[in-house]
Amino acid sequence: MLTIMSLALLIVLLIVALLVGRFAISPGELVAILWAKLTGGSHALPAALDAVIFEIRIPRAIAAALIGGALAAAGAVYQNLFRNPLVSPDILGVSSGAALGAVLAIFLSLPVVAVQGFAFAGGLLAVAMVVFIGNAVRGHDPILALILTGVVVGTLLGAGIAMIKYLADPYNQLPAITFWLLGSLSTISPADLMIALPLVLAGLIPIYLLRWRMNVLSLSDDEARALGVNVAWLRAVLITCATLITAAAVAISGIIGWIGLLIPHAARLLVGPEFARMLPLSMLLGASFLLAVDTVARIAATIELPPGVLTALIGAPLFLWLLSGSNSRARQ
């Protein structure tokens, strides 16, 4: 029921996102434009509206929904794998790695495609490094070793980012770096989407198929193994998939925080932790959340607000509210 409601919410938000903006489009006009496109006919409206809808708003709305859903799914997976509801998708250093890659590409004055490629590769490399070091650290709980290694590697990469910012040209490169680090959906083109979409789906589909089995992985390793699960193998697959979606999303949008932490938490409060119920709701809520935030970011002020700032502004109080709500519920 909640899943259907959140699907409806997402569809409404998608329609709103296509209507509002600097060029306001009425619902009737939208129908006429879409109908003309579908049937190959023509409409009496200005041709510029076609470009606004098909070149700008549809790709951007799809990107927002895709990235929001992907980050929420990755966050849900990591929270389950690490048995901790306060974990976010960048726990293993994806975001820091992607940021260092992107910042390096901007510093080297490479084209936008290269910035995205560097970000994607940087994210994957950072996680590969964390997993490699985490496995080499013996004699600890494997999960604790991974998380601590993630924190250390993330800090190290942060130092690299700081160094490049320090060296960057303050008039051209530094603003571009700052802008990327804030996260933005305004520059996403249909071509970007076509590259990111298959990567996100390649990570999402295995996660979706394994959604019931994820429950078992939230138990202790001993219990999961004794229930018949090959824990090390399954965890490796899921970390790979969650990293893939996060890196692909971050590569085209920059760093947009809070979604991966907040949304799975909210979904768990709504339908409980059972992953097969929680994951689809998480994805839908994440998609709706980022789409709503991005729409507000477009229309709230005369300049575009960075969505990463908005997610933090909305996410932090919302998270605290959820936290107090879950406490009072637990006490009952």
């Binding site: 219990e223 004794a226 229930l227 018949g228």
Partner: protein
């Protein structure tokens, strides 16, 4: 040994040495658990009970010797094969996400489901049957983290039953339970035995061994101090060696086995 006997032995160790990686705790462990048998392991804290159980469950590699599960070497068994024969019932103190009891019990079906499968009607039936057997159907929709320790332990036993395992390996099932819940768990162990399952459990209370075990293993510093019928093994002399405490065994007119209690200084 005849084939039929091999089939009857669920788990068998031969000259087993076990321990944590790089540190062997105990040597030369030879034990078997047969169908319908309850084996109780007694020993002080740090005596290796949990490590031995984890080794028998295939969670830690054997250092030397062999473990076989229904005649097949344990290291050749996949996790699914292991899970269909033996189930692990951990201590109920573990913290979980706030799953419902039904969700927890359903997780016992993992070894019977394909990689991408979700539990179906037959799995739900198995989970319901397991909860019915343990009289906890009223807990099905309660949150696992909000029920009592005894109820959690019962839910975990139900999960092992839903797993359709023949042998339940219980790590201190009565730990941190109140008096009534301890009795409840012991009652369930006896009932599991009468229903044809085997139980391997460890405890701190020698009375538990006397009350419901077919055989008792005393584990001292990782090694076997004694293994045999509770009455022969749980003696004042053995318990003094094991725990360093003077105990007396008091015969009871109402039951076969004696009671065990520590001797306190007079006054």
């Amino acid at each position: 040994m005849r084939e039929k006997d091999k089939e009857k032995d669920l788990i068998e160790t031969h000259a087993l040495a076990y321990g944590h990686p790089g540190r062997t705790l105990g040597h030369d462990i030879n034990l078997t658990v047969s169908t319908g048998e309850v084996l109780c392991v007694l020993g002080p804290n740090g005596g290796g009970k949990t490590t031995l159980f984890r080794t028998l469950l295939g969670l830690l590699p054997a250092h030397e010797g062999s473990i076989s599960l229904r005649g097949k070497p344990l290291q050749d068994c996949t996790p699914v094969e292991c899970a269909r024969i033996m189930a692990y019932v951990p201590q109920a103190g573990n913290s979980y996400f706030a799953f419902t009891v039904r969700d927890v019990v359903l997780m016992g079906r993992t070894a019977h489901l394909g990689l991408f499968a979700r539990p179906g009607v037959s799995d739900l039936d198995a989970a319901n049957a397991a909860m019915t057997e343990l009289n906890i159907t009223h807990l099905a929709d309660k949150t696992f983290t909000q029920i009592s320790g005894g109820e959690r332990q019962l839910a975990l036993i139900a999960r092992a039953l839903a797993q359709e395992a023949l042998l339940l390996v219980m790590d201190e099932p009565t730990a941190s339970l109140d008096f009534a819940n301890q009795a409840l768990i012991l009652h369930e162990i006896v009932r599991l035995k009468t229903s044809g399952r085997s139980v391997l459990f460890c405890t701190h209370d020698p009375d538990h061994a006397l009350q419901c075990a077919d055989r008792t293993l005393l584990l001292q510093h990782g090694n076997v101090l004694a293994l045999g019928a509770p009455r022969e093994v749980v003696t004042a002399a053995n318990l003094k060696t094991l725990y360093g405490v003077d105990v007396e065994l008091i015969e009871s007119p109402s039951r076969e086995q004696p009671f065990c209690r520590p001797k306190l200084p007079p006054g």
